[in-house]
Amino acid sequence: MTTSRDIERYAGLFAARTKVMRSSAMRDLMAVTTRPEVISLAGGLPDTSTFPPDTFAAVTQRIAAESCAKALQYGPTEGLAETRDCIAEVMGAEGMSVDPDDLLVTTGGQQVLDLVTKTLVDPGDVVIAEGPTYPGAVPVFSAYQAEVVQIEMDAHGMRVDLLEQTLDRLECRPKFIYTVPTFQNPGGVTMSLARRRRLVEIAHERELLVLEDNPYGLLRYEGDPLPPLYALDHGGLAQAPGRAASGFVMYLGTFSKILSPGIRLGWVAAPGPVLEKINLGKQSTDLCTSTLSQLMVQAYFERASWRDYVSSLVEIYRARRDTMLDALAEHFPPQAEWTRPGGGLFVWATLPDFIDTSDLLARALRDNVAFVPGESAYLDGRGRSSMRLNFSASSGEAIREGIRRIGEAVSEQVRLYGTLTGAESASRRSAPAGASGADVLPMPTPAERRRRAGGDP
């Protein structure tokens, strides 16, 4: 039997890095969001009910018939050659040309984040990320005791000018720059071509590694694709004098959003010396990625058109995004602003700064609806007035109803604040949320944050 005393005894054995690995009040709140009656706009789940069961059956049948022993066996750490060929095909679809030898197959994209951080970061090293950043990256950076510096974004992605200022100011060289340039999670915005070019130039000028996380690039609902940083790094940019021959962009890809997150299959492309270290890191973590999953991908790519499936997802998600944007316009009060993603899975909404979205979540859960409070996308307590809304995992009807309920709760709080302060249409946000204002990704300024009431830093 474990007693509280025993637990305290174990506490003395925990590594220092576990001090930052803790569950949070918000995560405890999230436990309620999994209840069946809750409309959850909180998850980041693709809709796997869209995958044809017949195809799944045929794929597994074929593996059983043709490569049973292989599927049940360990595989090479870098992944099966067949799988890496499939990955090269997927990257090719986004304009990247990659040598399969530069690839390592991982257990989901999340493992790439873990392995890259494990390979590069000592405690106290600086990692640069976007603000807001992928909430799932936060615990990874924390676990390796990285100092994370978050660079603000606007409608065109990371403010690369602010990045340069930050790099000038920093006293040490960051170990890498983490970015989700296309349909960012959670921001929903996409980095402009000019900024992409400049970012890759900066990486070369300053010899900095960039980790490009691109789970959503193929889920584009409008407009023309932009070249991934990896493509710009590998021959896409005009050869500048003195430019290094090997690249500085590491690329993270995943089958989670274009096929299935359940198969846990991702990959990383990186410069040779870095990839070698990552390979060693993976050996100690899990030896190899599931052979069964890798063969499933290979069999699926041979049997069916993965591009057709992605096209069907794009149709479904586009309609759901439109539903969410329409519902936001109808039900959110004028003091709210939100992004209009051209792809991906998320909308990022920002409310007046007197609303704390973690508290709002508690209120929303009473009405059986959930979202991710913005706080989880920052490491420094920012984002408290923002929220991430997912539109891929719910039906149009659920999205409309969910947004209506959240909108009602927000309106209620806006009115209450107005009553409390004597200003009926209370808003501290100066920019109106018109068509143009809605395209930006507003972040609280430090001065605004200081004015905020609220729990504690």
């Binding site: 007693t3 305290e8 925990f14 709140l29 209840r35 007197f354």
Partner: protein, 312 residues
């Protein structure tokens, strides 16, 4: 052997903690030789209770529904005996405004406070009374929802400008909130088992300025000292106050009373918890252990103490 339904989880914001409490209780009950029926309280609660036909329900739920008398009421209707306090005592303990009001009436010291409903602001212009309250309580003022055993929704307003947003936050959790004088000092908890107070636990936050929701349940963020290092006089006074609150609210079985020991040595009662946590890091099991009562024994005693349903 007794068939015991362990009620846990539910829709409360403290669901996660409750699931942990429930799991520990289930293990202990099984070791004690009982037949355990775990039930995550949801829409099918009544149906599952009827199907299980337990001899007893062990309520390991915290916060809304489990700790506020709701589930207790349902069990009364179903004629299923249950652990802990009855409907009325739960209702009184969960409602901080009511509990503190009763304490004031009984002469039990509790930090000065003012309570408001949302309608007071919406329909009666209560906002105009805020400056007078702020002057009376001094900053920082603690703003908290009336219900809820955890620190969720509790805010510190450091200046008048912080008060409106703090109120908006607290109203996210309850339609009634209170503004309370902040007492700086030491966090004490007195657990009570069958009307007897157990050794005092002191929670010493390691870094945070505020003893927050997370720290309560996490290892390594708060040091718990049991028995707390107190003078005999202060310890006795803490026990006395806790027992008076226990009796005042009509609690039974087990409970935890939270107090503050101010720098000037004054003790005040913050709140009473009808179903305190039973997790690995919870204070009641810790106090019991210090008193020589192991976890299994504690759970066994709580089961033994469960009354037969009675009129209330």
């Amino acid at each position: 052997m007794t068939r015991i339904a362990v009620l846990k989880g539910g829709r409360s914001l403290e669901r996660q903690v409750s699931l942990r409490s429930g799991a520990r209780v289930e293990d202990a009950l099984a070791r004690l030789g009982h037949e355990v029926v775990p039930i995550d309280a949801g829409l099918d609660l009544i149906r599952r209770l009827r199907a299980a036909a337990p001899d007893l329900a062990f309520i390991a739920m915290h916060g809304r529904d489990g700790e506020d008398g709701t589930v207790q009421e349902l069990l009364e209707i179903l004629d299923v005996p249950y652990t802990g306090s009855g409907v009325l005592a739960c209702t009184r303990a969960m409602d901080k405004v009511l509990a503190k009001g009763l304490m004031v009436e009984a002469g039990i010291p509790t930090p000065e406070f003012f309570a408001f409903s949302e309608t007071a602001f919406r329909e009666l212009g209560a906002a105009e009374a805020l400056p007078a309250i702020e002057e009376r309580l001094d900053f920082p003022i603690v703003v908290k929802p009336s219900s809820g055993g955890s620190a969720l929704g509790i805010k510190f307003a450091r200046t008048a400008a912080d008060v409106p947003a703090s109120l908006v936050a607290a109203f996210s959790y309850d339609s009634r909130v209170l503004l309370e004088r902040h007492v700086a000092g030491r966090d004490l908890a007195v657990s009570i088992l069958d009307g007897r107070s157990l050794p005092v636990v002191e929670a010493v936050p390691r870094e945070e300025e505020f003893y927050d929701f997370e720290a309560r349940y996490e290892i390594g963020r708060t040091d718990f000292v049991c028995p707390a290092e107190l003078t005999t006089g202060v310890a006795e006074r803490a026990h006395e106050l806790a027992i008076r609150v226990w009796e005042l609210l009509g609690l039974s079985g087990f409970a935890r009373i939270d107090l503050m020991l101010a720098e000037d040595g004054e003790l005040t009662v913050l709140e009473a918890n009808a179903i305190p946590g039973l997790t690995d890091t919870s204070l009641l099991p810790m106090a019991a252990e210090t008193d020589g009562i192991g976890f299994d024994e504690l759970i066994g005693m709580i089961v033994e103490l469960a009354p037969r349903p009675a009129a209330y």
